[in-house]
Symmetry: C2
Subunit: 389 residues, 2 copies
């Protein structure tokens, strides 16, 4: 494992002032409160939770979540699964399709490796071709290990997955015909519904998604095949999947850090009140009469789901962050009570979208005691940063 | 230096089929033609060129550009300068402001290191405070080396830089008062004008920018200080700066790879016809009747300047790429001649914006002989990937 860069090692045990900018910073206290809320929510609803590591991409965090009650980790990519496994995670679900034969061979080898460690690997499928190729790769790897296979159904997202009727049954039956593939259930994720702003809109979208998942589950069961699990959900809709009686596992990941986009959702009363726990620390490097320029642009934080907001710490002003390109942000003081920061001042931004923001950084500088006066307790590696394949 | 990952080493000397997806791929022949065009253009206009390495972030490419006639490299961040210097680049201009004292100490140390190697470091400033802090850091580093300092003026971008009048003169004079700071000229970049679509709009914006730069240069000269260089420009406007008689150096970087966004500009006749040389190879992992899903989303390519387009290789169809989230793209066949790709097919995407796309990848898989039938000649490291500070 690569040693920590000098600048990061130097700030361990130091106050937040020692963190160089721009940097991605985790408020550990807020993150741990979010974990407690999620663990309590899952216990209360008697569902499993398998938080999506496509968000945090860190073996250390995946293991922390497991110690807090999570079943294991979800990932979207084979390379993410490999990176987490290298960091000690043993129960991993690649909730996505893999089609390339050489990549399926990597999947098969990882399944054997995890099985030898007492763990499990699972993969989603949505085509007969994908199932046949996976079975061939498992035979080629020749370890005797098996792999859990979830049939992905499209419950409204309009991306991967088959319609939740006869095609799902055909795929489930096809999985069950292969000795080394274990039909593990249905993958049903309505990604689009996560970001519907109104609670009523999300409720309506999820009512249809739950109905579709129930229908598919009942059809597969009627075909003579038990459906051990229906898995899916996200931070925007988890109250609905948890209460559905259909979903047995929640994959929500963003609850851990909560981004500015999820904060724009109207919250369900049944949804735990998650806090922002992920911030970009940035410094003002240029000022003029009408705006200030800081050193964090969209190479520091993703803007696919909107620009970051400026965190309102007790000492901060009401500022608006505007896009200043790859390496800069422009700060405006629109409201009467706002005052532009001075040259050299530091600020905390709440990223618009956690997942691709974390993917821009190698490390999460993790602070205990709050952003105003806390100290750097540890540096969490983003093990699967850039793990695209 | 970290060894190449197995999957990348394995594809060296192999055909493009061996490249795992998603991957960032450079068409070396197209890139080299772009370099020849740029070198010829600069010779013809008798201007220096110092291509911006914030785009390619690679020491290997910076050195290739220097062998082709470039003066050196521009960067935006101290950490980028350090990464290029570690890769052998000795003439570097940080065309941005640095304010943190500990970061200015890194700048000062790098200036000493490069000077000892017969090279140069330069930095932009836009405040008296920044100049004083830089001078203090140079004194603290205590090597006796100097640093080139450019005063940044705002010529229409509305970001960093002082107005191109008396404030520029004051800063130039302040620089000249410090023994270890050499006043090297003016930094004048109109980033916003690069992406104005119409040739006439860009011409108008640049006429004003050139006028502002000339005015500032003349004022500083009249104050008794020689202005050795006015530097700036980008791929969208370089014909104007080159013909201005004011700008002595072009910083354009994107010409090397040309992204989908720059291709949407109406081209000036005076502008060289640069080709797309940067592609994301992606594979179809799911299909249904009305669309196909590929494995490249916005963790593979930046979408701040629009979605990627699908490259029309001889064998490809007219397809439209739609946003499928962090890890997926949705492909539609809108036109009558288009046909959806099949499961497992691979496609080449042209990223909307080169700079933040390159920053998502550790390596550029570099192909000789074209994307249809070429072979992988070498793997170029993205040395400054994630170099944010």
């Amino acid at each position: 494992m690569k040693p920590l860069p000098d600048a990061l090692r130097a700030c361990l045990g130091q106050g937040v002032d020692a963190i160089d900018t721009p940097a991605l910073v985790v408020d550990l206290d807020a993150m741990e409160r979010n974990i407690e809320r999620m663990a309590g929510f899952a216990r209360q609803h008697r569902v499993r939770w398998r938080p999506h590591a496509k968000m945090h991409k860190s073996a250390e965090i995946a293991l922390l979540l497991q110690r807090s009650g999570a079943t294991g980790a979800c990932v979207q990519k084979t390379a993410e699964a490999e990176a987490l496994a290298a960091g000690g995670v043993r129960d991993i679900f690649i909730s996505n399709e893999v089609i390339a034969p050489h990549k399926l061979l990597r999947v098969a080898r990882l399944a054997a490796q995890l099985a030898a460690q007492g763990g499990h690997l699972a993969l989603a499928v949505d085509s007969l071709e994908g199932i046949a190729r996976l079975a061939a790769a498992m035979d080629q790897a020749g370890s005797g290990a098996g792999i859990d296979v979830f049939v992905e159904i499209d419950v409204g997202q309009g991306r991967c997955g088959v319609p939740p009727g006869a095609p799902a049954v055909a795929l489930a039956q096809a999985v069950a015909r292969h000795a080394r593939l274990r039909f593990a259930g249905l993958q049903a994720y309505h990604g689009r519904a996560q970001h519907l702003r109104g609670a009523a809109e999300r409720r309506e979208a999820l009512a249809a998604a739950v109905q579709a998942a129930r229908h598919a589950r009942d059809l597969v069961t009627a075909s003579g095949l038990a459906v051990p699990l229906v898995t899916g959900s996200g931070t925007g809709t988890l109250a609905h999947e948890a209460a559905s009686g259909v979903f047995g596992e929640l994959q929500a990941g963003s609850f851990l850090f909560m981004d500015a986009d999820y904060a724009r959702n109207e919250r369900e009363s049944a949804q735990p009140a998650f806090e922002h726990a992920l911030f970009v620390k940035t410094q003002v490097i240029s000022v003029c009469a009408s705006y200030a320029v800081c050193d964090a642009g969209h190479k520091s934080h993703a803007i696919d789901s909107g620009l970051p907001t400026v965190a309102l710490l007790p000492s901060a002003q009401a500022l608006r962050y505007a896009n200043g390109g790859d390496e800069h942000g422009i700060l405006y003081a629109d409201s009467p009570e706002a005052r532009l920061p001075a040259l050299g001042d530091t600020l905390w931004l709440i990223p618009g979208h956690c997942d691709p923001t974390v993917n821009l950084h190698d490390h999460l500088v993790s602070v205990r005691g709050g952003l105003a006066h806390g100290t750097v307790e540890r540096i969490i590696r983003v093990d699967a940063r850039g793990a695209l394949t």
